[in-house]
């Protein structure tokens, strides 16, 4: 039996990458990791037990490259792990084309970097429930960070933000945007619980301009756009506009477009462009994102289908962070 799923379609490209870093084969990768006391399989399967074998091997390759190149900081190790993931992308697939592997590495690196102060979920509010898993992952990065990462939610609609905060126990921040001066005023902040969850701030915007003002107010360093509700009306335009502002003003901002396959069809009222509207969220993502994911946030088989590896995108963020953290720990022993 082959070592992992779709072995024949992947191995040539993997060997090219390994050769670049002077590693003989996959077995050597495994040995490099185990010699440093890093059990990649335990990390990967510990985060998502149903992850495929190729996920384990992809992280083994990435971790080995990180060790071999002598990374001592988790944020540098994360980037090398991305190189390992990228080598597993099936040639010609969506994942390969979007450079999802490298994107995952860069995202983990940003989450681990002290320069990133704030992580924002930019979403239609309905998907906030699904975002919860990812929030947990982001908080994991705090283990190696000196300053904890702030997590905020920014979505369309003040009433939705209010209800979501109340039901989930987040802190609701009511804002008012002055369209005349472009100023954002915070009217009140109401925490709806007293635990960890209350540290998460939830904002509701009336439109794109207010959404961008919220991003500036919170000094967002990394954001993930959801892809379920209002993608073309809110989250992609906000990310794109904020990106432009960030470039103009020398602010570090890393935008991730998450979710979706090769492209999602929009609601009937967004379908005026006919066939051109198919895959429009994909197009928007390509316009502003530093990294674009492909496939499900949780289902391994769907991500595998997109040509990456068999692990959900959200668990993968956790795996990259966890592997990078263990490299830092092992190298500084």
């Amino acid at each position: 039996m082959a070592l992992f799923e779709s072995y024949e379609r992947r191995i040539d490209k993997i060997n090219v990458t390994l050769a670049e870093y002077g590693i003989k084969d996959l077995e050597e990768c495994k040995k490099i990791c185990l010699d440093k006391g890093i059990d990649v399989e335990a990390i990967v399967k510990g985060i998502q037990p149903i992850a495929f074998e190729n996920a384990v091997w992809a992280y083994t390759v990435g971790t080995a490259i990180a060790i071999k190149t002598g990374c001592t900081k988790a944020k540098d190790a994360a980037k090398k792990i991305g190189v390992g993931l990228q080598s597993f992308c099936v040639p010609g697939s969506v994942a390969e084309q979007r450079k999802v592997g490298l994107g995952h590495g860069n995202l983990a690196s940003m989450l681990l970097s002290e320069e990133t102060k704030c992580f924002c979920f930019l979403a239609g509010h309905e998907s906030f429930a699904a975002a919860e898993g990812a929030i947990g992952i982001a908080l994991k990065a705090n283990k190696v960070r000196k300053e904890p990462l702030r997590v905020v939610l920014n979505g369309l609609g003040k009433d939705a933000a209010f209800i979501i905060s109340r039901i989930n126990g987040f802190t609701y921040v009511q804002t008012e945007y002055d369209y005349y001066t472009g100023e954002l005023k915070v009217i009140k902040e109401t925490p709806y619980s007293d635990g960890e969850r209350a540290k998460i701030k939830c904002y509701g915007a009336n439109d794109v301009s207010e959404g961008v003002a919220i991003m500036r107010h919170e000094n967002v360093g990394v954001s993930i756009t959801g892809n379920s509700t209002n993608p073309t009306r809110f989250q992609h335009p906000v990310a794109g506009t904020y990106k432009k502002w960030a470039i103009d003003n020398g602010v570090e901002y890393f935008s991730v477009a998450s979710g979706g396959g090769t492209g999602r069809t929009l609601h009937p009222d967004n379908m005026a462009a006919g066939p051109a509207s198919y895959g429009f969220t994909d197009t928007l993502g390509r316009m502003h994102s530093d990294a674009q994911f492909a496939g499900s946030s949780s289902v391994p088989a769907h991500v595998e289908m997109m040509g990456l590896i068999g692990a959900g995108n959200n668990p993968m963020v956790g795996m990259s962070v966890a592997c990078a953290v263990s490299v830092e720990e092992a190298m500084n022993k």
Binding site: R166, I167, N168, G169, Y192, S193
Partner: protein
């Protein structure tokens, strides 16, 4: 979901199923609810479970149901 100006919103049926209780905080605002999934309950009864047991097994909670100040029946109160 149903709402009047006089009494405010009452969640009667949500995606998860038939709403049995609403959880309110100290400002009388809804912070969660308990529900019973009618589809699941019917399946359990079909397989021979007693209705009461099936009712319990098909019930669930959403939101901060446990930290509520008071609970109301959305159909009667």
């Amino acid at each position: 979901m149903y709402s009047t100006k006089l009494k405010g919103p009452r969640y009667l049926e949500m995606a998860e199923g038939y709403v049995t209780k609403l959880a309110l905080d100290e400002n009388d605002q809804i912070i969660g609810y308990s529900f019973v999934s009618l589809g699941k309950m019917t399946d359990f009864i079909k397989k021979g479970m007693t209705p009461n047991e099936a009712y319990e097994k098909a019930s669930g909670k959403y939101g901060r149901f446990d930290s509520a100040v008071k609970y109301i029946d959305p159909r009667k109160e």
